[in-house]
C-alpha cells in the first residue's frame, strides 16, 4: 500500500498517531502530520485505513494519486 498526505488540510486532531503510530507522527513544533513510512507493511493496512477514515480533515490518502509524501 502507498500512503500520501495533504498536510495543508491537517488540523492536528491526532487520530492518525493513535491509530497507526508506526506510520504517522505529528511535528513537535507546529503539530502538523508527519509521514514516517510511505509504503507501510501489509499488517498495518487496517490501522492505516482507520487513520484515513478518522482524519477529520481528510488529509491522509491511501493508494491514491495527488498527495505529497
Amino acid at each position: 500500500m502507498r500512503v500520501s498526505l495533504l498536510p495543508e488540510h491537517c488540523v492536528g486532531a491526532g487520530h492518525c498517531v493513535l491509530s497507526a503510530p508506526e506510520v504517522f507522527d505529528q511535528h513537535e513544533d507546529d503539530g502538523i502530520v508527519l509521514l514516517l513510512d510511505t509504503t507501510p507493511d501489509a499488517h498495518l493496512a487496517d490501522a492505516v485505513h482507520e487513520a484515513a477514515d478518522l482524519c477529520p480533515a481528510r488529509a491522509i490518502l491511501v493508494d491514491a494519486p495527488g498527495g505529497t509524501a
Partner: protein
C-alpha cells in the same frame, strides 16, 4: 434503566425499505428527554426512519436536522457549511449562543482561511505526544483531588469534589491561569452556557472573562513562564501573527471548553460506570492493553454531552448524501444521535467498551474538531482509572431519580453527584 436491544443487521438490508427523505410532521428541536441516559426518542426515531426533517427551534428558525452518522460527517466537514453565528438565519442553539458574536470571535465561529490560520498557530501545543507528556502532572492532580475528597466527609458531591477541581486544575496549569481565580471562571462559564440566560448576560460574562485574560496575556508577555499563554505570547505577539485580543480569545475558548466539557464527562462518566458495575470492576482489575483507552472512547460516544447538536449554515447549495440544502438554510448535526447510529457503531444505544467506538463525533468532525481532545483523553483515562482503583466501594448516595440532569445547559451532565464509599 436498561437500553433497548441494538439492531444487529441494519446496514444493507434496511436501505431499500427506507422512506423517501422528505419532511414529515413538524418537530420542535430539541425536545425533552424521556430517559436521562439517552437522547430524546423523537430524534432517535428520525434517524431510524431515515428522514431529514426541518425542525423549528426556539427563535422560529427552521434548520434541517441530520441524525445519521454519515450525514453528520458531511455537515461538519463540507467547507460550504459555515460556523459563523453572526450570519442571518444561523440556527443558534439559544439566545446565549449569540453572545459569542458580541465579543472577540473564537475559533468556534470562524471559517477558513481565518480558522486554520489561528488554529495552526497553537497546534503544536495539542499533539498526542504533548498530551502524553502531561500525563504525570494530570495523575498528580487527580490523586490530590481524590485524597481531599476521601479525607472529607461522606457522602460527598463528586462534581465539586472531583470533576470540577480536576478539570479546572489541569486547564489552569496548562494555560498559566491562576487557580485561585477558578470560581470566577466557573461562574462566568456557567452564565455563558445557561440556555435560559439572555444574550446580554452571556455577552457581559464573556466580555469580563475576555478582559481578565487580556490582562493576563499582557502580564505573561512581560514575564513569561512555562505555560501556554506565555509560550504563545513570546512566539506570536512579536510577529503579528496574533494580537493580545486574539490570544486572550484563544485562552478563553480553551479555559471554558477545557473545564466545563471535561468536568461533565468526569461526573457523568463515573455515574455511567456505577450503573455498569462489571465495567467499573474491569477498569479496577483489568490490564488488557487498550481497555482504558477503549472505555474512554466508548464513554465519549455513548454520552456525547454536546446535547443540542452542532449547527452550521449553508453558504451554497449542498447535496448531503442525496438531501439538498439550499444556500442560506441552517443545518443541525445531532451528534448525540448520530453517535448511536447502528450502521456505524455496533453497540448503538448500549454502553459497551468492548466495541470499537473510534470515529465517534463527540469531539465534532471536520476542521473544528476539538483542539484539546488528546488532553481530554488523558484526563478522562486518568480519572476513571483512579476512581475505579482507589474507591472500589463507590456508589451513589441518592436514588438516580433524585439526580438533577443538565437539560438546561448547552453541555449535558449532572448538576450534583452525591456519592459515598
Amino acid at each position: 434503566m436498561t437500553s433497548p436491544p441494538t439492531p444487529t443487521t441494519p446496514t444493507i438490508a434496511s436501505a431499500g425499505t427506507e422512506p423517501a427523505r422528505g419532511n414529515p410532521a413538524p418537530l420542535h428541536y430539541p425536545m425533552p428527554r424521556q430517559c436521562p441516559y439517552a437522547p430524546p426518542e423523537e430524534v432517535t426515531a428520525v434517524r431510524a426512519g431515515g428522514a431529514v426533517p426541518r425542525v423549528t427551534i426556539w427563535n422560529g428558525v427552521r434548520p434541517w436536522l441530520f441524525t445519521r452518522y454519515e450525514d453528520a460527517r458531511v455537515v461538519l466537514s463540507d467547507p460550504r457549511f459555515s460556523a459563523d453565528k453572526s450570519r442571518p438565519g444561523y440556527p443558534l442553539s439559544s439566545a446565549v449562543a449569540l453572545a459569542e458574536t458580541a465579543v472577540t470571535p473564537t475559533l468556534l465561529i470562524m471559517d477558513n482561511p481565518e480558522h486554520d490560520h489561528y488554529r495552526r498557530l497553537v497546534l503544536g501545543e495539542f499533539t498526542v505526544k504533548r498530551a502524553e507528556s502531561l500525563r504525570p502532572a494530570v495523575r498528580a492532580v487527580v490523586d490530590g483531588c481524590l485524597d481531599r475528597m476521601l479525607q472529607g466527609p461522606a457522602p460527598a458531591d463528586l462534581v465539586t469534589g472531583l470533576a470540577l477541581p480536576v478539570a479546572l486544575s489541569v486547564i489552569c496549569e496548562f494555560l498559566g491561569v491562576p487557580f485561585e481565580d477558578r470560581e470566577l471562571f466557573r461562574s462566568l462559564t456557567h452564565t455563558m452556557n445557561a440556555i435560559g440566560g439572555t444574550t446580554e448576560t452571556a455577552a457581559a460574562a464573556r466580555q469580563e472573562l475576555q478582559e481578565y485574560l487580556e490582562c493576563l496575556v499582557a502580564v505573561r508577555e512581560k514575564h513569561p513562564q512555562q505555560d501556554f499563554i506565555s509560550r504563545m505570547a513570546v512566539k506570536h505577539l512579536g510577529t503579528g501573527a496574533m494580537d493580545h485580543e486574539r490570544l486572550a480569545a484563544m485562552a478563553l475558548l480553551l479555559l471554558t471548553a477545557g473545564h466545563d466539557t471535561t468536568a461533565n464527562m468526569i461526573s457523568l462518566g463515573v455515574l455511567t460506570l456505577l450503573r455498569h458495575p462489571a465495567h467499573f470492576t474491569a477498569l479496577r482489575d483489568g490490564d488488557a492493553p487498550g481497555l482504558l483507552a477503549g472505555t474512554v472512547e466508548e464513554m465519549l460516544r455513548h454520552l456525547t454531552i454536546v446535547q443540542r447538536g452542532i449547527r452550521r449554515i449553508a453558504l451554497e447549495d449542498v447535496d448531503v448524501n442525496g438531501h439538498l440544502v439550499r444556500a442560506g438554510e441552517g443545518v443541525i448535526a445531532a451528534v448525540n444521535v448520530a453517535n448511536r447510529d447502528p450502521r456505524r457503531f455496533p453497540s448503538g444505544e448500549d454502553f459497551d467498551p468492548a466495541e470499537r467506538a473510534h470515529g465517534h463525533l463527540a469531539f465534532g468532525y471536520g476542521p473544528h474538531q476539538c483542539l484539546g481532545q488528546s488532553l481530554a483523553r488523558v484526563e478522562l483515562q486518568e480519572v476513571y482509572a483512579a476512581v475505579a482503583r482507589r474507591i472500589p466501594t463507590l456508589r451513589t448516595a441518592v436514588p438516580d431519580t433524585e439526580l438533577r440532569f443538565k437539560e438546561d445547559m448547552a453541555v449535558y451532565g449532572v448538576h450534583e453527584l452525591p456519592v459515598t464509599w
